[in-house]
Symmetry: C2
């Protein structure tokens, strides 16, 4: 890795940790530069598009890390239920050791930038889809119908992100613990498939070709 790559990665890592803990807008460039020991000129050299470029890099960086964590746990535990519970355990430990500040940096950025930056939004969406694809893969391997696996996976992802948010607001990991306990029912195969008709056309977000980078072609 070249010297520049090291500097660039250090900025990304620093920014990610700060955003995870305190949110995007509250993480100013000066703090990132100070804590990563990087001069301002280097920042704009590596991120010519400014803070938005950094945000996208953080989304990509954490997206990869989290996807790898899911893969790792899946290889260890096999079933979707066990894997997801192990994942939530990891997040719970992280939440508690961070004094209930460590949320999901992707979600923090996405929430604060929604409607403001199409590029950031697209990056976050891509990451969420890559994560969801992993849940779908596990559920499908267990015989869940494609449609069911697809909606369950995204519901699990919603629940995890929501629980992280609530844990931060509560100052307690209880929401994550509650989710852990309710996973068996959430991931159960219902007696009948969800009966709700699609009331409106669902502009399902199509994965772009670049999704290959994350692996796992996904059927929406």
């Amino acid at each position: 890795m070249s010297k520049g790559k090291v500097t660039r990665q250090r900025m990304i890592d620093t920014a990610q940790a700060l955003i995870q803990r305190q949110g995007y807008a509250a993480t100013g460039l000066q703090q990132i530069l100070t804590e990563s020991g990087t001069p301002r000129g280097s920042f704009y050299f590596h991120f010519p598009g400014g803070k938005e470029d950094l945000a996208r890099a953080v989304i990509h960086n954490h997206g990869t890390q989290f996807a790898e964590l899911i893969d790792e746990l899946a290889a260890l535990h096999g079933s979707a239920l066990r894997t997801t519970q192990a994942l939530i355990d990891r997040l719970t430990v992280q939440m508690e050791t961070s004094n209930c500040t460590a949320g999901c940096p992707v979600t923090h950025i996405a929430m604060e930038q929604a409607g403001k930056s199409n590029a950031v939004q697209a990056a976050a969406r891509e990451v969420y889809e890559a994560w969801r694809a992993r849940f779908v893969k596990m559920l499908r391997a267990e015989g869940h119908e494609p449609e069911l696996a697809s909606t369950q996976a995204r519901t699990v992802l919603s629940a995890i992100e929501g629980a992280l948010l609530l844990s931060r607001a509560y100052g307690s990991a209880a929401p994550l613990e509650d989710l852990h306990g309710n996973l068996p029912t959430l991931l159960a195969v219902p007696k009948s498939t969800p009966s709700r008709k699609k009331v409106r056309g669902e502009p399902e977000v199509k994965p772009r070709e670049q999704l290959g980078l994350w692996g796992l072609g996904l059927q929406a």
Copy 2:
């Protein structure tokens, strides 16, 4: 209502709508004042503690509105499942008509202020607990064990908040739709109670006496 109360409420309503759409930090005082037609001197008269006082007022305002909506839907639909699905339908419509920007103002504030303002965090926690209490009440009326109802309610709340977040990031209400479809299983009574042992002491957040304001004493 006195003239001042009218002005104050207008500021709260304006702030709430802006925060709902664009987040807390991105909603500056100047914009609130301009859009509500209020002079700066009036702002600090009504909110002597500044922006933080306004944030708490918004949390309280929206907390009440949403609790009333849940009550209304519960009176109409009766069951926890039907009520929650109707609630999600409402949120889905709102999400779509707002071009996928209308999230939950309480969550936006809580997320951006976590670790920064104890007062704001406490206000958000209180609102979440008041909302959760309503789900618990319905589930208990349907025979769910107290412990199960408690965790399910908070998981539902996590899932809803998470789905709102993801819908904003995706630019699509699909996460809300997916959650709607998965609610029957999520709210089902499992064959056996969640088997997870409490690994760590749970510093369960106790509702304060003031919770009476929201009604529904809650057993944690």
